[in-house]
Symmetry: C2
DNA sequence: TAGATTGTTAATCGATTAACAATC
DNA sequence: TAGATTGTTAATCGATTAACAATC
């Protein structure tokens, strides 16, 4: 069983950026890359890159750099991108639809196998090639499909109920797009993608910029 | 001209969470709220809340707490949520469509006034009640509409060109959803919303969880 | 050997948290 | 007055960065 080290959250968040830079480097036929080049891509100093990568092991060669393909594969393995992750998505509004159809996710091993909505108009249809079920079927389907991840794209009001339902069904990783702080048991990993909240912080910058000029 | 203090990024990111908690508190007719209650909503200790809010001034009363409505208005003002921010969105795919239609943004003062795409099929149509123009018209329309913010939802390949175009047109705040590191001049504020990269970090957690159990 | 670049140590920086005097 | 809660100071924690010996 492969060992996976603990890694600081900010370091983890930079790995996908390095990974993409490596893929592009590989396309260009470059066999070796330096921490300097990776740092430029991520907007951090080379020392930060080396520190980040040091959490995964000794991956480079002093005086030379990192072997492009090897490092890409190591990152891919570390983040588990080659492993299929079975997910369900609840809330087939505009955003839910967009995420269900997003090809970029599949390339990272995410397979959204079922959609749920309480609108009878949508239930029974297919969206982005995936079946839509009623929200009353979440528990049942999660178990029969072996889903381990749940994506919430319902409006704020319904989000906690959906989360509860997912947790009850045994899901232990939730990616929440609803603009609401959810309460989940300790063993459940909750990642919030709160676009309205993000907009609010961007709004601050816009206003600041307006006052400056 | 109102003064806006510098505020650490993590503190700024928590303000919208406090703000939403305040709105709910207000709905429930509660006139006073404590840092303790706000902290619970955001998952941080009360001391963190008080420190965060202290960047905006002395907003509470010792021994009592914060006046709900007053604090909500202060946050709203600080983040500029009541001010209209004119934006354009480039890339009318699934995600672009979803963002263009997202009602939550309007509540925070974002007004997306024009969409752009290079697909002739889409140009000339209306999507979510907003006109779609050809990408060759970005500069012209940004200026005539007075847009100060740009949202990028094109595929990775085209993102840098779109950003360049926006910057040339005078846009100085860019919200980028394309999975690509963009290069912009120093005076431009760039906020990345890289969902594929986020998925990669979540994938790490899923795999870790799998190994644990 | 000279030049380049790694991994790691130590210093720096900045954010979080605990503690408490001041206030209501 | 007793109890509650603020704003702020100081201590703690954790991440970033600079510097450099080790390595190629």
């Amino acid at each position: 069983m492969p060992h996976r080290a603990a890694i600081p959250r900010p370091s983890l968040a930079r790995l996908p950026i390095y990974y993409r830079r490596l893929l592009r480097h590989l396309e260009q036929g470059e066999g070796i890359i330096s921490s300097q080049e990776l740092g430029t891509a991520a907007g951090v100093p080379a020392a930060q890159v080396r520190k980040d990568l040091s959490h995964l092991g000794e991956l480079g060669r002093a005086g030379v750099g990192y072997e492009t393909r090897e490092l890409a594969l190591t990152l891919e393995d570390f983040m588990g991108l080659a492993h299929t992750k079975i997910a369900v998505l609840v809330g087939v509004g505009n955003l839910g639809r967009a995420l269900a159809a997003y090809a970029g996710f599949e390339r990272y091993g995410l397979r959204i196998v079922a959609l749920f909505d309480h609108d009878p108009e949508k239930v029974g249809k297919q969206i982005a090639g995936k079946p839509v079920f009623g929200t009353d079927q979440i528990a049942e389907r999660v178990q029969s499909l072996g889903a381990e991840m749940g994506i919430i794209t319902v409006p704020a009001v319904g989000a906690q109920d959906v989360a509860d339902e997912m947790v009850k069904a045994g899901i232990d990783v939730i990616w929440n797009f609803a603009p609401r702080a959810l309460i989940v048991p300790d063993h459940v990993i909750l990642e919030n993608e709160d676009l309205a909240a993000r907009l609010a912080t961007i709004s601050y910058h816009v206003i600041l910029r307006r006052l400056e000029t």
